[in-house]
Amino acid sequence: MPYLGALLLTIAVELPIVVALAPRPMRRRALVDGVAFNLFTHPLAWLAVLHLCLGWWPVEAAVTLTELALYRGLTRLSWPRAALVACAANGVTAALSFLF
């Protein structure tokens, strides 16, 4: 799959999950932030796995932890909610990556 396709697919899959799991008053903010966070982590993960030949699992874990910190620090979700959003969204796309 070409890179831009992978990026758009990831965003398309993760955003509904992020919006669904974010508290209702924060959904709009979570939507915008979710796009930004994916635009940040996805290219770096792509680089790390395909060009730097780093392991898939450590990279996926690093992406999840980074997004967790960003959802907590910038979106201001609570720690448990940020962990839930980051783990669920990345868990689903990670599972999908085995299919595509």
């Binding site: 890179y3 831009l4 932030d33 930004a36 966070f37 940040f40 680089l47 060009h51 960003l70």
Partner: protein, 327 residues
Amino acid sequence: MTTRGTIFALSGVLLTAALAVAAPLWTYALTLALFGLPHVAAELRYVDTRFGARIDRGLAHALWAGLLAIVLLRVATLAGLGAPSQRAALELSLGAALVLCVAPRLLRRGLVYAALGAALIALALWAASVRPLDAIVWFAVLHNLTPVAFLAERLRGETRRRALHWCLFAFGVMPALIASGAAGHVLAALGASTAASVPPGIGGPEQHLGAFVPSALRDGALALDLFRAAAFLQCLHYAVVLHVLPRLGAGDAAPAAPFCWPRGRWVPDLVTAGYLGLAVAFGLAFVDARLVYGTFAAVHAWIEVPVLALALASLPLGAAAAVGARA
């Protein structure tokens, strides 16, 4: 930020990204020659006014000693003394020593901060023993992110949150997209040339990729994209240091006996002459001028490691100033 300011900042970031992708070596060389030295002075000034009160005399002496040793190492580079990997390993070890200087204060703040300091020291020493030259390159690249830490430390509340969103976009998303090659594809699709043209008289790309690209990645197709991302980050670093930080000023930092910045009437002339001299030197012998500039750059980059470690530990402002004036 006003709508006008937002549009101005967004246009600036996107235009810089386009320039860095289309002409990375031009962007790197021109901005280094024009803004390199002024940004070092501005950044040191900011560090002094914002963090000076938190550094007491004893700590200042220890830090100056470490920095002097780093300057001597860089002078050794100019003189061609020693092997590059040995000099790099020594510089990283001195960096670890700088963090060691603030370790007692980190320990006083708590075990988490002490562990952070220990991790920094261990990382520097490990890099010094394993791949010192690559570690120095990574250090140069990561140094470009320090304005994010300065803004996070300086701002509060909603302003801080908004600034960090901007930083995520400018210092995170854009470089990631450039490094992945996505930005290059977009620009090529728009019809722009993305060939690596080189400014005349500064040598080929191979002489400059090493400034930002570790040796293991220098031969691959990825090298130029990584260089583009780093050149873009360098521009943003200069922009924030020269344009944003001076406007923010020291803020709520306690007034301290500031570093004795020279004040004579001759100072502006001397500074201007030095700046113009180095700018001309960049035009005449870019690689040699970069070595000289590297000495100044090393001082401002390394001093920020212990300073930011202290800032992270959120030591109370002015606590040190109450104890005594710093050197």
